[in-house]
């Protein structure tokens, strides 16, 4: 019973958050300077043409009416029609989501494969002063260098020295896996740097925390080898914060890596939203942001579930309101 009510509460909370996001984004795009008419119709349009466009999309109705109509459509699975392409937004999002998802997965996998071992290593060697300082410097740089700086740097360097990779020139994986990976390597690397740093730091902190536990001291006293202690006693108990941070990172990436997709001309959700903002394509911006928020909230719910599986004590505590 408690389990069911916990889930009902989570879903209700998620729905409330989404509703709030929908109101915010709906209002935000309409308060941006520059209307759809100037962008979509251009300067030569007559007042009659502007009025006709407004009437076709109901853009002169009161905002409350427009919002009600939009949210009702979203409830039916209709995210509206792009003012520019005249195509359903949902269909375009479906085409673009795989690009964004692939980018997010590549970055997340790289973050785990590099970040977790790095975090464990720096935790175990934390008493090595030089190594610790180098680790802190690297993680500081990884977190603080903006994506557009690192991305621009890679674009510049790899434009000159391709080394088998391509800058832009996206090709779907199904069409040519090799070309796809060559095009995705650089943008995934840009995203992976910050993600790897976050995962490594979280892993390091978690592992150092676990290393002070008495059961680890006992294992050392029993003469168990270090790799065995790390694998059997440390990693499992340090996994919870790592899973949480990884989930949050992946969720934010799935919502569209706006800057990286735009910088590398990847036809994903992020670049779709950026272009739509520039053109005041209301339906696209609203749908894109709502999708990003939905993914983010969903991933957080999944994180709660996974944490409960990894550490049943935390799962039970959460459901009982303890965490």
């Amino acid at each position: 019973m408690r389990f069911a009510s916990w889930w009902i509460g989570r879903v209700a909370s998620a729905a409330g958050t989404l509703l709030g996001v929908s109101v915010l984004i709906f209002a935000a795009v309409r308060f941006m300077p520059g209307g759809y008419a100037q962008i979509v119709l251009g300067p030569f349009a007559t007042p009659g043409e502007r009025a006709a466009l407004a009437a076709r999309y109901g853009l002169e109705d009161p905002l409350v009416v427009q919002y009600g109509r939009w949210i009702a459509s979203v409830g039916r699975g209709d995210f509206g029609t792009s003012l520019l392409s005249k195509e359903p937004v949902a269909a375009e999002l479906v085409q673009r989501l795989p690009v964004t998802a692939e980018l997010a997965v590549l970055a997340a996998v790289a973050a785990v494969l590099v970040g977790v071992p790095l975090g464990v290593l720096t935790a175990v060697r934390s008493r090595d002063g030089g190594g610790a300082a180098a680790g802190r410097l690297a993680s500081g740089l990884g977190v603080s260098v903006p994506e557009f700086v690192l991305g621009s740097l890679l674009v510049f360097v790899f434009s000159r020295y391709a080394l088998g990779l391509t800058v832009g020139g996206y090709v779907p994986f199904a069409a040519d896996p090799g070309a796809n990976l060559r095009a995705m390597a650089l943008p995934a690397t840009v995203l992976a740097v910050a993600a790897t740093t976050a995962v490594a730091r979280t892993t390091r902190d978690a592992v150092m925390n676990v290393l002070t536990e008495q059961y680890v001291t006992a294992a050392v006293a029993r003469g168990e080898p270090p790799w065995f202690i790390v694998r059997h006693h440390v990693l499992r108990n340090a996994a919870v914060p790592v899973v949480i941070v990884l989930t949050v990172i992946t969720a934010s990436l799935l919502g569209g890596a706006l800057i990286v997709e735009y910088l590398f001309d990847l036809p994903g959700v992020g670049s779709y939203i950026v272009q739509a903002v520039g053109r005041r394509d209301y339906a696209v911006v609203q749908a894109g942001v709502l999708l990003a928020a939905t993914v983010f909230i969903l991933m957080n719910v999944i994180a709660d579930f996974v944490v409960g599986v990894v550490d049943p004590r935390l799962g039970a505590a959460a459901r009982n309101g303890g965490v």
């Binding site: 962008i39 391509t166 832009g168 590398f264 053109r279």
Partner: protein
Amino acid sequence: MRTRWLAGGAAIAVLAASGCGAGGGPPAGPQKQPAYLAEADTGLPEGGRLDLQIHVDSGAATGLDPQGADTATSWQLMSLVYETLVTVGSDFDPEPGLAEKWEQPSPTKYVFHLRDDVEFSNGRAMTADDVVGSMERLLDGSATWKGQLGPLKSVDKVDAGTVEFTLDRPYTPFLAALANVPAAVLPMKEVADGSVDPAKDMLGTGPFVMAKHRQDVSWRFDRNEHYWADGAPALDGIDISVAPQGSTRIAGLQDGSSGMAILDNVDAPQVLKGARDVEVGTQATTDFFYLMLNTKAAGSKFADKRVRSAVNIAMDRQLMADAGTGGLGSPTAVTPAGLPGACDPAELPAAKEDLDRARKLLEDAGAEDLSFKLAIYSTEPAPAIAQVVQQNLEKIGVTVDIQQLDEGSWADEVYGASPAKFDAALSWFAGYADPAMVGQWWNPESAGFNQGFMTPDPALDKAIDTAVSEPEGKGRAAALEKLCAAVDADAQMIPLVTRPLIVGYRKDAVSPSLYGTEGYGNALRLAADFRAAK
């Protein structure tokens, strides 16, 4: 059959001789441009596809309908599928298109004789009814291009292969206006029966058929097997990807992931200097940047003609061409530089004045401490040109605050209200293929878009009307001079410098044909002649 040109080796020689290659070099304006920037090597075999990257997709409210296309990007893409009765040659003279010949029995009549071997890409023969129907659809609609067709009164079918156009009064740019994509011949039978919606479908007589389009992502064009010109198109197709970032287009050329790219960064030739197998050329265009001064805003100093004249006098167009466009553009008057009969911008009245005169005008107008905001958008090379404007005006004591806005905010400032909100703004016009065409936008009552910031000037309107109606000859040359002087004196929209179109391609991927100067911003005008190099 379309004219064939010299071998591709000549293309490289032309690029080098024009100073337009990757090395940059001295300023190369349209007057120095060769007729062809590159000519396809007809010795290469037919077949193969071209990977092309462009910076922005067609985005007209009227969708894929060529009659509603109002930007150079749309014209470029749609010209692969649609054709017009006449086209323009490298010297801007009208050349046969879907009409094999024409005559002008009177100043207000044009009779076109249609080719008898033209089919739409569905295999149906093009008829005189398609021509008449297309033009009537254009005249009945609200397309921008209708204004450029001037006083076209009626279009009538004479017989199965002949069509007669009647104008209300003489209009010299008529053939040039007829040569642009919005005046294309549509499949009117299919449009009438509803099997083709031009806003969503593309069915034309051009060298390619549109196989696939994803807005802002990509286009796929395949060869039109029914194309009328023998041996054309040489390519099997063109795959176009929309890559807004100039850096990725440059990288694509370098790493070979694209065969050709339209580049908007005037530094691109320098950046690509020495890149293996990459050729970069600057196609001069008749497009030009202009400065808008809002005379209608409440309390605007620009309502005083003396202030506008002072600003105009201070404009150093050569510096703009050299510094703002990297030496790739040219100073221009309202008659675009590069077009036959265009005015010499150095001979404009304001260009002959000195800065002391400008300072005196400001003093007389009580505007010694003039400062204003200049609204620009981020597309290259507008920011660099705006900086030159700022530096020019600093010399006469005017302070300019440059505001770089996104496209939506910029459009809102300039077109969003009447009177418009902005002080001054920078933009560019397509310059078209006749020196009097673009000048018509200086009449706000007929242009419409500038009514919010431009006050009608009867003397200027008269000069515009005379320039478009005067037939070729000495009379027209004088009329164009008067038009240039009138625009210069009015100074509400001040022509500055032409906008270069930079085209990069890989020699191991494509051998293209490119005019040296382009009137409609269409680097793909000769795409039917392109050859794949691998």
